[in-house]
């Protein structure tokens, strides 16, 4: 049997929504991850969506499943002396501790960093919170949308007339968990080399803030705020060969005018082959299309006379292209377009992802023989493939499934 990269590493996880994905990454890489849960389970165990027909069952939350694969579950009540004693013993048996409780919560229960570090100096103590362990907002209440707002990404997303948009999928939680996984493993390497553990302090606000893209540097250098620009990205006119278009069954994104791959005339070739180029082969459209790319557009903006000549032609070109794609499925537009070296992306729905040609050909999804709630289910696969020590996903634990075995083995 292949040895996994984190074989022999014990992780104790006192975490819910914010930190569970961190534990999951380590568990899939081979660490023994023991999730300590309160009686009844935490917020994520009790979160919708559930497996159909099992609504409200803490063993059937789909959100819990995908963030807690490959772990063991131990139920302990930290509000009792007995629970705290067992949790402390368990924590001191670990190489890495992951926690996402409000600052000070574990310290008042004898499970804080100072306490545990004194008892076990090699322990890597990973704290994941909304705002980190220090600073004036360290005590602030946190939920994912708070991290997305305070971290600067919502202001960049959405139509200017709408409220700023959050990104789906608890992305502040995910970002914090991914940052924490890197930090915990770096600290583990250091602890294995020197015997010295340490505190890994992750703030969700900081964790996601690099996703502001160029906004931070735009303020730093130019004292301008980047703001949300909606579907057209702040460009006043729709540019042929770019943007989100409707198809027969969904949407695609075109980015044909970008420097990579074929250009607009290559799209017109495809349309012509199917008898749908309409009058785009005639003047004045033909000569417009032959030169229309990002570089030409930039030049055009600096020349009002030419701009006045060409801009009134764009809506018709857009319309002919839109009509062409309105007749195709998203998948056909994506796959045939890409085979023709046109930069087209499918706007994948969850169903499209489940049926994605590439993911299926690569056998990415995993299925558990003995799945949660008794029914075999496919899960999304791992983020990476390691040739010698692969990430292996096994099923998430039922609430308290391993309590007796894990506590029984503690001496």
């Amino acid at each position: 049997m292949t040895e996994q990269a984190l074989a022999g590493v014990r992780v104790v996880e006192l975490a819910d929504e914010l930190g569970s994905y961190c534990g999951r990454l380590l568990a899939d890489l081979g660490a023994e991850v023991i999730k300590v849960e309160p009686p009844g389970g935490g917020r994520q165990r009790n979160s919708a969506p559930f497996l159909a027909g099992h609504e409200g069952n803490p063993d059937a939350s789909l959100a819990f499943w995908v963030h807690n694969t490959s772990k063991q579950s131990v139920v302990l009540d930290l509000e009792t002396e007995e629970g705290r004693t067992a949790a402390r013993k368990l924590a001191l048996s670990a190489d890495i501790l992951i926690e996402d409780n409000p600052v000070g919560f574990l310290a008042t229960r004898g499970l804080g960093y100072q306490d545990l570090h004194a008892a076990k100096p090699s322990l890597v103590y990973t704290s994941i919170t909304g705002f980190g362990q220090t600073g004036p907002h360290a005590g602030w209440a946190y939920s994912d949308i708070v991290g997305q707002a305070m971290g600067g990404i919502m202001t960049l997303a959405g139509e200017p007339v709408d409220p700023p948009n959050m990104i789906y999928g608890h992305q502040a939680d995910i970002s914090a968990s991914i940052q924490a996984a890197q930090g915990a493993l770096m600290a583990l390497l250091h602890a294995e080399a020197t015997g010295n553990g340490q505190l890994v302090d992750v703030s969700a606000q900081e964790a996601i803030s690099m996703s502001q893209e160029t906004a931070m540097q735009t303020w730093d250098f130019q004292k301008k705020n980047r703001v949300r620009a909606g579907a057209q990205g702040g460009i006043p006119i729709a540019i042929p060969g770019s943007g989100t278009l409707k198809t027969k069954d969904g949407y695609i994104l075109l980015y044909i005018i970008a420097p990579a791959g074929g250009d607009l005339p290559d799209l017109i070739d495809w349309m012509r082959e199917e008898g749908k180029a309409a009058d785009l082969d005639d003047e004045p459209y033909a000569s417009l299309i032959s030169q229309l790319n990002m570089g030409w557009l930039t030049q055009l903006m600096g020349n009002p006379e030419d701009a006045m000549k060409y801009i009134p032609l764009l809506p018709h070109v857009n319309e002919v292209i839109a009509t062409f794609f309105a007749d195709k499925t998203s998948r056909e537009a994506y796959e045939v377009g890409q085979e023709r070296r046109l930069l087209i992306g499918i706007v994948s729905t969850p169903k499209d992802l489940a049926e994605n040609t590439q993911l299926r050909a690569r056998d990415w999804f995993v299925q558990f023989p003995e799945a949660p709630a008794g029914k075999p289910v496919e899960f999304p696969g791992p983020p990476y493939r390691l040739s010698e020590s692969p990430a292996i996903i096994s099923r998430p634990p039922r609430l308290g499934e391993h309590t007796a075995a894990v506590l029984g083995a503690l001496t």
Binding site: R43, S143, N165, G169, I174, Q217, A231, G345, T349
Partner: protein, 418 residues
Amino acid sequence: MAKRPLEGIRVADFSWFGAGPIAGNTLSTYGAEVVRVESETKVDALRRVHPFAMNEDGSFKGGYNVSGYFNNFNAGKLSLQLNLNTEKGQEIGYRLIEKCDIFLTNFTPRVIDKWNLHYHQIAKVNPRIIAAYAPMQGMEGPHRDYLGFGAVLTPVTGISEMSGFPNRPPFGVGTNYPDYVINPGHTVTAMMAALRYRNRTGKGQCIELPQVESVVNTLGTAVIEHLANGSNPTRTGNRNPNAAPHGAFRCADDPDSIGSLDRWVVIACRDDAEWQRAAAALGHPEGATDPKFVTLAARKQNEDELESLINSWTKDRKAEEACAALQAAGVPAGVVQNSQDLLDRDEHMRSRGYYQYVEHPEAGREAHDGPAFVLSETPGYIAAPAPLMGEHTMDVCERIIGLNMDEIADLLAEGVLL
């Protein structure tokens, strides 16, 4: 200063744009020596795009070295300028890889083919190498050569379909979001695991990180809703099935927020107690006892009305003040901050010192994203600015690769080094 945890690790960074270089940036921040290999025939486009540093007269600085976008992702690296389209250039590349612990690239498989940088090729010169490949679709499979970068990755992975308001088309999230944390963070996680494996077994290995797989892994809830339940969920704006209110609410405009006057406070009430405290904190405790809003189920049912009501409570208040009142009541709340807030006005970010400032020889003083995880005993830091294009070609060739001055001069004359 304390020794950083990756000191002694050397990285051959053959990457470009966002996802690859950011992984190298994290390694550099934590003490690895990262050699960014730049090829004149494939210049990193980020070197040539905004935001550029400015001159005192308000004009933009020019050239390859003054983009804040590039500089932020390449701090502390060395730049080796090498023509990888030549056989000799590839040979120099191999000699560098021989001296490295980690190899990193996010070029497409076509380019890896052309430059002969596949794992089986580089493992021949360095069997202990940990080689990470992060192309969009993977190194194998029917879509392996599909075109794409962050702008296309966002729709293809499902982020666009699942984000934004349902009455709008799925136009994306305003940035190439997955490039910045998900892909590079997964890459470094896998590298650290592989380093541990090498410490224990002496073996290097190949890490393949298809960007699509990396991102879809984080959207697992939506995908498994289809796989397990057969449903096909879509975007629901700022709402959340387990909380109400859950969204962004309009506050008073802020004339000091440059070019970004509209201000919003986000509020998340995950149970009735949080909702009661939120209504009271905003001065309307009666809102919480209204039968239309008294339970989570009732609030979900009347969510449009709930949101209008809260907007009417917040619209004349300062966002920071509404947020502070909610936080004082223990309600998850935050201001929708812009970069001006994050760099200049957020006292918390400033007190933690997240942004680090360095002096760049051409761009001037510039802000960098600091490490997004803080190691208490072995902290990371930005030790040097991003390299000028080709700044360390001589140093890397002489000190790391072991070429002598005559050899270097010949390679320069032949156009292999630049």
